[in-house]
């Protein structure tokens, strides 16, 4: 049975433009979600990837009952999240990244005690659960210190503890490693892995592709309010039709070279960025581009007046390449 089900979920927002004083105020509709369908199995760690403004936050707000969809159905462990939000709330945990979401003048223990009350956990159970979580998050020795004195990583661990107080079946992790240093992010990833091993259903949103690839059983890419691809990392590669990636260091390259390459049917995406005294050209080819890819790039650089090739490397596509390919294809379709 699925833990999270979204069927053809749409969400519109009213966006105001102009001004009342200039008599040109207009309300237009903005469609943030355009028929999102998702199925996450119980015990699965599911990653939701997408560029800023793609609809990730709206999806999470709907799944946490903070927003109702304009149309469509949402079921969480079989409960209707739109009609019975109060029943659903005690079974879900919501953790977001960043400094917010905690009473910073109070201690870690006071924060957890407060949220335990909100989740109607009995005082006896509270003590036990808070001690367990503080230990699990390695915060026991700082439990009575004010949260404002905590590092970002400690705050994030406390956030996770807050989200787990009522032992939810489903946990939403909204960019939990956002802004953390590598060591703190590694700690958070280890906690997420442990949660998955304990049988929790987790929906994770992140901008870090290696993190998604490392943690998630399955992934979905959302762009312009639609799920454009769904599956394992390998399946996303096939869906993206992602082929080899060429990393070329050149001197004297211009954007025109990039545009010429992008005009080729077998090039999905080309990106030029400055790299000290040279430029780095990243070209993502479609799967059907074949084995002649390095030759194609050499020819293109040679044909460009003034550009000189210094180094060329070929590699297999990573999840990031597949993601960029999928989002680029979606944007091309939208603009067409």
């Amino acid at each position: 049975m699925s833990a999270i089900v979204m069927n053809d979920v749409r969400r519109e927002f009213d966006v105001a433009t102009g001004s009342v004083w200039r008599m040109n105020r207009r309300i237009r509709k903005f469609e943030a979600l355009r028929g999102v369908t998702l199925n996450v199995a119980r015990g699965e760690l599911f990653g939701l990837l997408g560029p800023n403004g793609a609809g990730k936050t709206t999806t999470i707000k709907i799944l946490t009952t903070l927003l109702v969809p304009t149309s469509g159905e949402v079921y969480l462990n079989g409960l209707d999240a739109v009609r019975s939000p109060h029943q659903v709330r005690s079974r879900i945990g919501y953790v977001f990244g960043g400094d917010k979401g905690l009473y910073d003048r109070l201690s870690a223990r006071d924060n957890l005690r407060y949220f335990s009350n909100l989740y109607r956990i009995s005082p006896v159970e509270q003590r036990k659960r808070i001690n367990e979580l503080l230990e699990m998050m390695n915060l026991l020795d700082r439990q009575n210190d004010r949260v404002e004195t905590f590092s970002r990583g400690m705050k994030q661990r406390l956030h996770i503890a807050r989200g787990l107080l009522h032992d939810p079946d489903i946990i939403y992790l909204d960019e939990p490693t956002n802004g953390l240093d590598p060591l703190a992010a590694r700690d958070v990833r280890a906690i997420v892995r442990n949660l998955k091993n304990s049988g929790k259903t987790i929906l994770l949103t992140t901008h870090y592709m290696f993190e998604a690839e490392d943690l998630c059983d399955r992934l979905a890419v959302i762009a312009d309010g639609r799920i454009i691809a769904e599956g394992t990392s390998k399946e996303l590669g096939a869906l993206a039709n992602a082929g080899s990636v060429v990393r070329a260091e050149i001197i004297g390259g211009a954007q025109a070279l990039c545009r010429n390459l992008e005009d080729r049917i077998d090039v999905v995406n080309c990106h030029l960025e400055p790299l000290g005294d040279r430029e780095l050209l990243t070209i993502r080819f479609a799967a059907h581009a074949g084995i002649e890819v390095p030759r194609l790039v050499r020819e293109a650089v040679a044909a460009d007046n003034g550009a000189q090739l210094l180094d060329l490397q070929l590699r297999e596509p990573t999840l990031e390449d597949k993601y960029v390919t999928l989002v680029s294809q979606s944007r091309d379709k939208e603009s067409a």
Binding site: R11, F13, D14, T58, K61, T64, T65, L66, L67, V68, P85, H86, R89, S90, I92, Y94, F96, G98, K100, G101, L102, Y103, D104, R105, L106, D110, R113, Y114, F115, N117, L118, Y119, R120, R146
Partner: protein
Amino acid sequence: MTNLSADWKLFSSNVRFYLLHLSRSPIELTITFLLPLFFATVAHLIGEAGSGRLTSLEITLGAGLMGMWTTVMYGAGGLIKEQRRLGLLELLLAAPGRFPVTIMSMTVAVSLLGFEAMLGTVAWGYFLFDARIEGPILPALAVTVVLCVLAMSVVGFVVAAVFVEVRKAESVAEAVVAPLWLLSGVLIPVSALPGPAQVLSQLLPVTFAAEALRAATHSIWDVHAIGACLALSLLYATLGWIGVNAAARSSRSRGGMHLW
């Protein structure tokens, strides 16, 4: 556990929590204690310049109510703004505990902090204006002060509901604080106000709480004022409850981003 008993537990534990939270700001505590010195001075100067109908204790307690009003009007809205700034408002809504109970517990905590302003004023009144509280009036005074806290809390609850719905509601709060001082009769008796203002003042529970408090300084239990205050408090609590629920509902359906 019944809903009512669960709500009561949540409410009482939340009030304790928010009092703890508010008490962790020494600057706010100091200002809440010192501000009544200004109110007490102004009230006594007005009292001296006026008809002299009010006793020194009545003037002092009236000034204390001004301090409480100020703390509640700015505090209730300020606390909601702080929750929004800290990204907590959406977490409070996403929790199973009833949202209006959480918001009401905040406003009660703020009113109890406002009680500190009352204590401060009484202290200033005693040392500077010879306003003494004699033993026999203490029971009536204690009850009516609790009544004032209740009346302020429910008005604060309605203010908080407005702050949940409207992001920048502080301009409203700023605009109504001074008129409310006058209308609620904490500074001067309502009978000294013009006719239409007297009608408006009858719509505020604080007006009756102030009346009962003034009567208590003469060891009189003003049953009519106490009853009217309780009835209006119930009405305001209901309005606040409906307002907070409506704000939460509209935020979920319109997605007007009030909560985040």
